[in-house]
């Protein structure tokens, strides 16, 4: 036997046997021990607890993971993941154990020193209020006396953010908040109040609480999805759907998977395993990322394009697929799919441009041909490949509304065989061709250049038409014999012309922009198409914020969606787009919407797009020298207008919402109309026409147009999403700001909007935040209310990422003086209603609402031709050429009673979601039994809604996904319109009613419902649009198909009718920032990106001690070793970043995995942890958004036109932030706090 080294050692070790009961091994090497382990009792005791409670994490994360919260002696000790998800199937992995390190660290907050335990008010304001109340007695009058006093208002606003919060009682704080609301409704109108609370899916009852109160008083809820720049406008543009994506379990089904700008291990931590595991099935995985991101480790291939050039990459792939699978050879699988499910065969009229060439124009519709069926102007045409005749396929928006379309709104082609191209006529002959002017924007300055390429045409009457595919081939530079124009040069060695860099969108062309080798792109594109053929469309692109937060993201996405769609991958399990950016899915959508927006009491709601709200109300428009002329494609469609002018136009045409709406109170407008003896809508139209009345957006600096009260809950606006943070500080809040930008000079200013000499500062009278921890928003708030955490309340949680609904439950009661959001808002509603008795009573409120998607209002703009009543092109007609105007009666004294009961409108009017109607009298009766009935007051005889659980029950019971009866009812109602069978999809669960108690036991799978586009029948994984593809249910677009071509005037004018590559904005040319790579006294100029952080979920957890201990302990910026070397930055050096928008002080993380020319400042690091004063101006260093600013893209505010019609969070201008640049340098001054 081998022996230990020496005798002495053996003796020493061996001698242990004399001192212990343990057994020393014969070789005396180790010690084994049985029994007698009293010394280890400590660990056994530590692993003991009194109970384990199911809960989850409530906002800003879309993981929706169910957790076990351990409680011992009434104290939350720690948490670990639940593992009891229903099985995903015997032949695939499971969802357990969903979670991530952030969630695992959550319980730290419960007892942490950053916990908000009591209500707080800024001392200076509290003193003013107490004095005023002493003086006036009435709290509403007291509030008014402060905000009307310029000096007082200036003083307390100037103090915002700078400490001085003091404790107060709930009673007193609620009174201040309620008084501010009552005062504002009375003095300015309810639309001067707003609420912001993001992604409801993650804690639906909490969202409902404040939203329900605010909608009952007539205050708008601000959108979040567009504001976060997470909304992919390409989705409504192309699918007519906000976003619908596969659950992560469906990644398993893909044969080919791109992770494109989506860093799955970091941003989809609980789901990442599906990707790592699917590789073992032979799935090919490609990571597209400018840096060596965490997900690249898992890929077979790393494609590393320059940031923001993904559109060029996607177009080159599209070029190869179109060339090889549509032109050089045909692919029956692709052809069949595109004929039925896309607009590729639809006819586009070409308009002569006066120089012999043509420009792409409008869809040819039945009405153009003299057809007189109902909605004939909304029925696009194709040419039949067999007969050569013009035919009108059913299933367009024209069949969706009106009596004639009943039973016809489906994608059955019948005897129509749509010709994809005009290249050959129906007898196989060659048709004539014309040259089309096509835009390209790939010049360094981003300005348009036009090139001519030929398309084959047909003539219909005197119209020259071609197909969308023909135009797309021209746009993508895919040559066909005999067509005139500029095409890629071919040679013997390059028969495809892929090596010609001069013409978009060849692989060599993209290489100039992206830096990705042309050969790699060509091969991947082929593999992608071949995989689609081999797998029947199981190719998937996970697309993330890296591609979606750019100014031109809609174009990037459209180019990517071309890849998933022309290859027949959409509407498949394992196929299609998988947009994972701020995605969230309120699976019980209908019940949620009706409760949150109080549609049981009051319709319509006020919904506001938040990007425009802040663009206007933080005066960022005044700094926007980027005028609309920069955006049009030399067409002059925006001639002489600024983006602000276009916004004002969009508002007055009813395209996009705008609150505050008018420069008068929406309450007094009704009074004035009555005084004038006119119907309110007529009065408003007349006053607008005469110019007596203005839209508030036309004069944003005037005090009557300011927002006055803003409530944040489940939200950290000023630490997270406020693009242009420093503009918020100055113009909204009136406190210190580091912004140094110049306002637009004369000539660059809006034409149709009043230019005040001086921008307003401190617009907001009251900023209130409800939170459980201190954030950039709480420190800036006038009032901070202490919230219960996610382990201290009941609520519901769902996500896109998995198909289950599960619950929050209190592990402990809310400690100290904290309250659940539900209870906090009820308290505010109660006091508000009391104060309303003397100040408000019952009033009539004129609500102006934009033209809505999924309603006939979306057929307001024939052919997408823009006609403005202001210039006399049309008459102002509410609901047609301008917003819908509706009078709502509000009994402000009954707000609390209404908030806590379910109103009568659901029984009286039914419910509607995404255009599908439901009756629900039976369901309300069941809720009466489940929740009990209210006795007396406004809600007499109605179901109770007094507790969070009752609210959860209402959400569950009024949604198809959680109530099989409603799902089946909805499908049956939809069948009347489609004429196809659908209700079998949910029939298997018709009797299933998921209750809150069910969600407490375990996560529960939801039911297939018309609220969503995918089928989960029989336990299959959720993939979007499977109902559309398998059941021929049209998409909610103009054509009813997935639409590549958008023919609205503004899109045509911007050269964006089809996908086109638009590079990142050139901030040097536009705003005078130093070009990337320039080194000067301020450091080196770099692209400034703010991706998601590994150590936080937005601003949550970045302050958590566990996360800080596992990272760098404070605000940091990743920089490449090459850039760092240029300016002498070493790892962990203090650095300062400066651009026109603000200043950031942080530490550097230097790494060779970063590409040269780009820095990452992981977003939402707040500014509260170890951030020193800046070198430049001695103020506290900024947050990530101190260097950004809101820039709106006009195409996002188009409305009133088919799928381009407004709905909340469905479409809207994005608060994009990726195009920005900054200087970065090593800090030299002493670090001081």
């Amino acid at each position: 036997m081998t022996d230990l080294e020496n005798q002495l050692q053996r003796t020493l070790i061996g001698s242990r046997r004399f001192f212990t009961k343990a057994e020393v091994s014969d070789d005396q090497r180790t010690l084994h021990k049985k029994g007698g382990r009293e010394g280890d009792v400590f660990y056994r005791e530590r692993w003991s607890h009194d109970k384990v409670v199911r809960s989850t994490h409530g906002v800003n994360c879309t993981g929706s993971c169910s957790w076990k919260v351990y409680v011992k002696d009434g104290i939350i000790t720690w948490e670990a993941q639940q593992t009891d998800y229903p099985s995903a199937g015997p032949d695939r992995p499971e969802y357990e154990p969903r979670g991530c390190p952030r969630g695992a660290a959550f319980s730290w907050y419960t007892y942490s020193p950053t916990r908000v335990r009591y209500p707080y008010v800024r001392g200076v304001l509290l003193d003013m209020f107490r004095a005023a109340k002493q003086q006036y007695g009435d709290p509403v009058v007291a509030w008014g006396s402060i905000v009307q006093d310029e000096e007082k208002a200036r003083v307390y606003k100037k103090a915002r953010g700078k400490g001085g919060l003091v404790r107060a009682t709930w009673e007193e704080v609620v009174e201040i908040v309620a008084a501010a609301h009552v005062y504002t409704v009375k003095r300015w109108g309810p639309d001067r109040i707003a609420g912001f609370s993001p992604i409801p899916a993650m804690s639906q009852v909490s969202y409902v609480s404040g939203a329900r109160f605010l909608e009952l008083i007539g205050a708008p809820m601000l959108s979040f999805y567009d504001w976060y720049a997470d909304l992919p406008n390409a989705s409504p543009q192309m699918f007519g759907d906000q976003t619908d994506v596969p659950e992560s379990g469906d990644w398993w089904d893909a044969g080919y998977l791109f992770m494109w700008g989506s860093n799955v291990p970091v941003t989809r931590t609980p789901d990442a395993h599906w990707m790592t595991e699917a590789r073992y099935r032979g799935q090919k995985v490609v990571a597209v990322a400018p840096d060596y991101a965490e997900n690249v480790k898992f890929a077979d291939e790393w494609v590393s394009p320059a940031p923001g050039t993904d559109g060029a990459l996607a177009m080159a792939m599209g070029h190869v697929v179109l060339k090889e699978f549509f032109v050089d050879s045909t692919t029956p699988f692709f052809e069949t799919y595109n004929k039925q499910y896309t607009d590729l065969p639809h006819l586009i009229c070409l308009e002569p441009d006066g120089s012999g060439a043509y420009r792409p124009g409008k869809f040819l519709v039945e009405g153009d041909l003299g057809g007189d069926s109902e909605n004939a102007m909304w029925k696009p045409a194709v040419i039949d490949a067999t007969t050569g005749e013009v035919r009108i396929p059913q299933g367009s928006i024209g069949d969706r509304f009106g009596d004639e379309g009943l039973g016809r709104w489906n994608l059955e082609l019948g005897d129509i065989d749509p010709a994809l191209s005009m290249y050959r006529d129906h007898q196989g002959g060659t048709r004539e061709s014309v040259e089309v002017e096509l835009p390209r924007f790939d010049a360094a300055d981003g300005k348009v250049i036009h090139e001519r390429r030929g398309v084959p045409i047909a003539r219909v009457g005197d119209r020259v038409v071609t197909t969308v595919l023909d135009l797309m081939l021209a746009q993508y530079g895919v040559a066909r014999d005999g067509l005139p124009g500029t095409w890629p040069r071919t040679s013997e060695s390059d028969p495809h012309g892929y090596d010609d860099p001069s013409v978009p969108a060849t692989p060599a062309w993209q290489e100039q922009h992206t830096g990705v080798p042309a050969a790699q792109v060509t091969r991947i594109a082929r593999e992608w198409a071949e995989n689609a053929i081999d797998t029947n469309g199981r190719g998937m692109i996970l697309m993330g914020a890296g591609t979606n937060h750019w100014f031109h993201s809609d174009q990037i996405y459209r180019a990517m969606l071309v890849l998933t769609t022309i290859t027949g991958c959409q509407g498949r399990n394992g196929g299609g787009w998988a947009h994972y950016v701020g995605q969230e899915k309120v699976r019980p959508l209908m019940g949620f919407q009706h409760m949150a927006f109080a549609l049981d009491w009051q319709r319509p709601p006020r919904h506001m797009n938040q990007t425009a709200y802040w663009y206007v109300n933080t005066s960022q428009y005044r700094y926007d020298t980027f005028d609309a002329d920069d955006l049009d494609a030399g067409t002059g469609v925006f001639a002489g207008k600024t983006v602000m002018d276009l916004l004002a136009q969009s508002v007055r045409l009813g395209w996009t919402p705008s609150y505050p709406t008018f420069n008068r109170s929406s309450l007094s407008l009704v009074d004035q109309a009555e005084e004038a003896g006119q119907a309110p809508a007529d009065y408003v139209v007349e006053q607008l026409k005469s110019g007596e009345l203005k839209f508030a957006v036309e004069d944003p600096e005037a005090e009557e147009n300011h927002p006055r009260v803003l409530s944040l809950w489940r939200s950290n606006l000023l630490g997270s999403s406020a693009k242009g943070n420093e503009y918020f500080l100055r113009h909204l809040l009136g406190t210190d700001s580091a912004e140094s930008a110049q306002e637009a000079p004369p000539g660059k200013r809006p034409r149709d909007v009043v230019w005040a000499d001086k921008a307003a500062e401190g617009r907001l009278d009251l900023l209130m935040t409800i939170d459980f921890r201190m954030t950039s928003s709480t420190i800036l708030s006038d009032v901070v209310l202490p919230a219960a955490t996610w382990y201290e309340k009941h609520d519901l949680n769902t996500t896109d990422m998995h198909p289950f609904i599960h619950s929050f439950n209190p592990a402990i009661a809310p400690p100290w003086q904290t309250k659940t959001d539900w209870e906090a808002w009820k308290a505010i509603a109660k006091r508000f209603s009391e104060l309303a008795v003397n100040h408000l009573g019952t009033r009539k409120d004129l609500v102006a609402k934009p033209l809505w998607h999924d309603t006939p209002e979306a057929m307001a703009t024939v052919h997408g031709e823009v006609k403005d009543w202001k210039t006399g092109e049309v008459d102002p007609v509410p609901g047609k050429t301008m917003p819908v105007l509706v009078v709502a009666e509000r009994d402000f004294t009954a707000v609390h009673e209404k908030m806590t009961s379910i109103g009568p409108l659901i029984e009286d009017l039914g419910m509607v979601t995404k255009g599908v109607p439901y009756t629900a009298g039976r369901e309300i009766d069941i809720l009466r039994q489940r929740n009990g009935v209210v006795h007396g007051g406004a809600g007499d005889g109605q179901p109770r809604l007094e507790t969070d659980i009752q609210c959860a029950e209402a959400i569950l019971h009024l949604s198809g996904t959680t109530n099989g009866h409603l799902a089946t009812l909805g499908f049956k109602n939809l069948e009347k319109r489609t004429g196809t069978e659908l209700h079998d999809l949910s029939a298997e669960h018709e009797g299933k009613q998921i209750t809150f108690a069910d969600t407490q036991v375990a996560p529960v799978p939801v039911i297939t419902s018309p609220e969503w586009s995918g089928s989960e029948s029989g336990g299959r994984r959720y993939a979007p649009f499977t109902i559309n593809v398998e059941r021929k249910k049209p998409f909610h677009t103009l054509t009813g198909r997935q639409q590549f071509y958008v023919d609205h005037d503004w899109f045509l004018g911007m050269g964006e009718a089809l996908p086109v590559y638009r590079p990142p904005l050139n901030m040097s040319a536009l705003f005078g920032e130093a070009p990337i790579g320039e080194v000067n006294e301020l450091g080196v100029s770099v692209r400034y990106l703010t991706p998601h952080n590994k150590w936080s979920i937005h601003s949550e957890y970045q302050d958590n001690l566990f996360m800080l201990s596992l990272s760098r302990g404070g605000q940091s910026v990743w920089i490449s070793d090459r850039d760092a070397a240029k300016v002498g930055i070493k790892d962990n050096d203090w650095i300062e970043m400066v651009n026109r928008n603000g200043v950031v002080a942080a530490r550097a993380i230097v790494s060779h995995r970063m590409p040269e020319g780009t820095v990452f400042m992981h977003h939402a690091q707040d500014r509260l942890i170890d951030v020193p004063l800046t070198e430049r101006d001695g103020k506290r260093g900024g947050i990530h958004n101190s260097l950004t600013r809101t820039l709106m893209k006009p195409s996002h505010i188009v409305g009133g036109y088919a799928q381009l019609a407004y709905f909340f969070n469905y479409i809207g201008p994005t608060g994009n932030n990726r195009d920005e640049v900054t200087m970065i340098r090593k800090r030299t001054a002493k670090v001081e706090y």
């Binding site: 180790t30 965490e294 077979d300 050969a519 404070g1114």
Partner: protein
């Protein structure tokens, strides 16, 4: 033959996403308390990188583990027990707090309590050791994702001998994650280092524990452990270490780190081994033979003779059944895809790893070849982004052959399964090329990919 049972773990690094959930749940459960602020029984390291504590793998510096003397005998690298006794009051081979990190917190209260002032309030870092203001210079995971790579990754101990093959340049970037817990070694040098006899292996399952009553705080175990997975609690003055969550294991629940692993990459199972053969195996001459030597110590519970011997040794029948079903056994013994971490320390570690495979195709991207094609597959492995020599330095004392063997099996599995995935006839020559049957390959696929809860533990 003396049959003993050992709880063991396999981590599939090919699936590790580096999320650190394991670290946090472990910390919350076990070391979130005074005296243990800097302690992470479970940590995750980005490789290349320095690890925690910094450069712990440099045994020239830290002198952990065993060495084989020219006479063929094993000795503690830090010197025999006598030397330890003589130097007991000044242990020079003990990592300082800077080598771990100085734990800190913040004056969070300022955010709420700050009086009205000129600037926005901020929470500053305060040392948890001194209570004073500090500048954060190092953390439990400072070089995460190659942060500060030119200063830190560049000094990775495992680059030794392959400096010419590794460039820390953007174009050639590679990284992966290495989660670590105590190895619960068959030949634990911590136990052998303890002058008080406080560290012991549990007879029934081999879990290595510190007897908190007997520990006298000499810290020789900290030095003796080459993995630096024994820690000193500066409040109690005793050593503490990962307990393999024995209070959970005893009632049939997996360890916290394993159950909360969202990458689903941890497998726990029982291994039977011949306790009499351990020392000999740990003392084989060539470091490259240590991997095979350790495998030779394991006994196959499906062998009737082993089963008899195990019963005779007092191992319960249900334990033997568990050992037969052990996923760890399959990964180590049947498929041979799991490898030990640093066998050259000769401690016979019992937490094994499947090395990471990826990205494979990169190197041929400009050729237009399909590297997923079986014809190119194995060639591509030779040019992985992660140099195979680097992996070999971690798992096989520098011998690249076993690592290559594992990577080829993983690649072959993907290639084989793609045909099945696409509904094509599977190609039996693919598993054959790596010495596996089709059935074995499919079963391995199920264990690695589908990996149901009941199959992982």
């Amino acid at each position: 033959m003396r049959v003993m049972a050992q709880m063991a773990m396999v981590m599939n690094l090919d699936k590790c996403i580096g999320c650190h959930t394991c670290s946090v749940t472990c910390k919350q459960a076990w070391t979130n308390r005074t005296g243990m602020e800097y302690v992470w029984f479970n940590n995750v390291e980005t490789r290349p990188g320095l690890g925690y504590p910094r450069t712990y793998e440099d045994q020239d510096e830290w002198q952990g583990g065993w060495v084989r003397k020219p006479n063929g005998r094993l000795a503690l690298k830090a010197g025999g027990r006598l030397k330890k006794l003589l130097s007991i009051f000044s242990n020079p081979k003990l990592p300082s707090i800077e080598d771990y990190y100085e734990p800190w917190t913040y004056d969070y209260e300022t955010l709420l309590n700050s009086p009205a002032s000129e600037n926005f309030p901020v929470a500053r870092p305060k040392s948890l050791l001194t209570g004073k203001d500090m500048q954060v210079q190092w953390s439990a995971n400072w070089d995460d994702d190659l942060g500060g790579s030119q200063e830190h990754a560049a000094r990775d101990v495992m680059f030794k001998g392959i400096e010419d093959k590794v460039k820390l340049e953007f174009e050639e970037t590679f990284m992966f994650y290495l989660p670590r817990i105590c190895e619960h070694c068959l030949n634990p040098s911590c136990a052998a280092s303890c002058p008080s006899g406080a560290i012991y292996k549990r007879a029934e399952d081999g879990i290595v524990l510190v007897d908190q009553d007997r520990c006298r705080g000499w810290r020789m175990c900290v030095s003796g452990c080459p993995y630096k997975k024994v820690y000193f609690n500066h409040k109690t003055g005793k050593a503490e270490k990962c307990t393999f969550c024995y209070p959970r294991i005893e009632v049939g629940i997996p360890t916290v780190c394993a159950e909360t692993c969202v990458g689903r990459l941890r497998y726990i199972g029982l291994m039977l081994y011949d306790a009499d053969a351990v020392l000999e195996a740990a003392a084989v001459e060539d470091d490259h033979d240590l991997y095979e030597a350790q495998r030779s110590v394991f006994l196959d519970p499906r062998d009737p003779e082993v089963e008899q011997a195990a019963l005779a040794a007092g191992i319960q029948a249900d334990w033997i059944e568990a050992a037969k079903k052990s996923p760890v056994l399959r990964l180590i013994t049947d498929y041979k895809v799991a490898l030990p971490l640093h066998p050259e320390y000769r401690t016979m570690p019992m937490v094994w790893y499947i090395p990471p495979l990826s990205p494979v195709v990169d190197v041929v991207k400009e050729t237009g070849e399909d590297a997923e094609d079986r014809g190119n597959l194995f060639a591509a492995i030779d040019t992985l982004r992660i140099p195979v020599e680097y992996l070999a330095n971690l798992f096989t004392a520098g011998d690249v052959e076993p690592v290559n063997g594992v990577l080829k099996k993983l690649a072959a599995m993907r290639s084989y399964m793609r045909d099945i995935n696409l509904g094509r006839e599977p190609d039996a020559s693919i598993p054959a090329a790596v010495g596996m049957t089709e059935e074995e390959m499919y079963e391995m696929f199920r264990l690695l990919a589908i990996a149901k809860y009941a199959d992982r533990y």
